[in-house]
Subunit: 129 residues, 4 copies
DNA sequence: GTGGTCTAGACCACG
DNA sequence: GTGGTCTAGACCACC
């Protein structure tokens, strides 16, 4: 069984879940440069979803330089954790900005916001998704 | 002219924009309990969108107890800013948790996370969306 | 202030609420034969609803012989509690049948149904609506 | 042919009929968790009603956790009969309370009420609606 | 093929 | 005038 999973109840698109999932595996060190990804077909079979969806995810990962696909050999990991970490941090900041903005407009105080941010960090478990 | 607007370029659904918009007006004090909302038809005419879309937004607001609608009369505001603010705060916390979780899994340190949260608050403007 | 009230949140039609309300006042003895009902206009003003709605309720009550309207004198109660009680009992039985039917179709046992009916009687307060 | 039907003569709204209908099929065991529901379009064609109406019913069922819908896939049953039965029982109790309350206010005795409840159960047929 | 959203326009009951 | 429901038909994203 693979470490890759999808959640049908999530409103996020399946291919996007896959992309984030694989990036997460690299970030957490479970996948390293040169590691081989499961084939499109086998992963599709395993997850019970359409091969096109896997393909779309792999294409997106290839387009952004995270993986590389070689004819007849499959797909291998290119990027290492450090590279992805920077991108991830940027996205985090922009999402935090959006939240901060909404909080301000709702009349939530800076104290409450900071308190919530600290609690959020404290409460979430370690590695598990 | 009403305070309610929609942005056709926004990928967010129209009816959801309306819901958030009206909640925002309550949060900012521009709408208070017992205030009357524009009628479904008049608002539709004014915004140039279909009455059904307004209807959907109003129904959602009624379902969640934000407004009350009376046949042949119209809709009035029920919830006050404080009630909505609490709900808003809960949503904020849960989103922060999700972000904190992803940050942890990406190997981002607590220091970086807190720094990002503080910067986010500092950088966002005041009231404007 | 009158004993008659309406609930805008109730999905039941206003005129129907009025009809039931007045019948209830007779059943509970707060209105007796020959008692005078408030005038259409004054009641409309007091409750903040359309006189047409009061009119509709009074017409319905007159049609079913509960009240009588005399030109220039207003409306007075005709029926006494005993007469109404029998009608009320019939309606009660038919509603109970509907509930029993739904309960059966949902696989609820007779024991649970009877238990629920007994509890319902025990739990409801005395006179208040 | 599907087990789902609608009755145009019924004053109950079509989408509500559909909701109750599907819940009923789950309660009676004709639909179980993981069973697939007919697609919005096919059911609309079959029943001769508008897809939007089916959509509305399915959305309501999803909102209340009875079914789950996946983009491009269709809808499957989530809740099992026991869960629905509990909800149904709660609704039954609250309706019985209302009836008991009205009965008390009408001066109906406990004996008459219980007798009526027992008769109601005895008289209604088995499964058919 | 699937569901999700939106528009256009109709009808009803109610005030 | 008001809201509530339904139909018809279109478009989009996704599988």
């Amino acid at each position: 069984m693979s470490l890759i999973t999808v959640d049908f109840r999530d409103r996020k698109q399946l291919f996007e879940q896959l992309v984030d999932n694989i990036k997460g595996l690299i970030l957490s060190g479970e996948l390293s440069p040169d590691d081989k990804l499961p084939s499109v077909r086998s992963l599709a079979r395993e997850l019970g979803i359409n091969p096109n969806t896997i393909q779309k995810a792999y294409s997106e990962l290839e387009r952004t330089g995270v993986i590389m696909t070689i004819q007849g050999r499959g797909s291998i990991v290119l990027a290492d954790a450090n590279i992805l970490r920077d991108e991830q941090e940027e996205r985090l900041v922009s999402r935090l900005k959006q939240i901060a903005n909404e909080a301000k407009n709702s009349g939530i105080t800076k104290e409450k916001y900071i308190k919530a941010a600290l609690e959020a960090w404290a409460k979430v478990g370690g590695k598990d998704e």
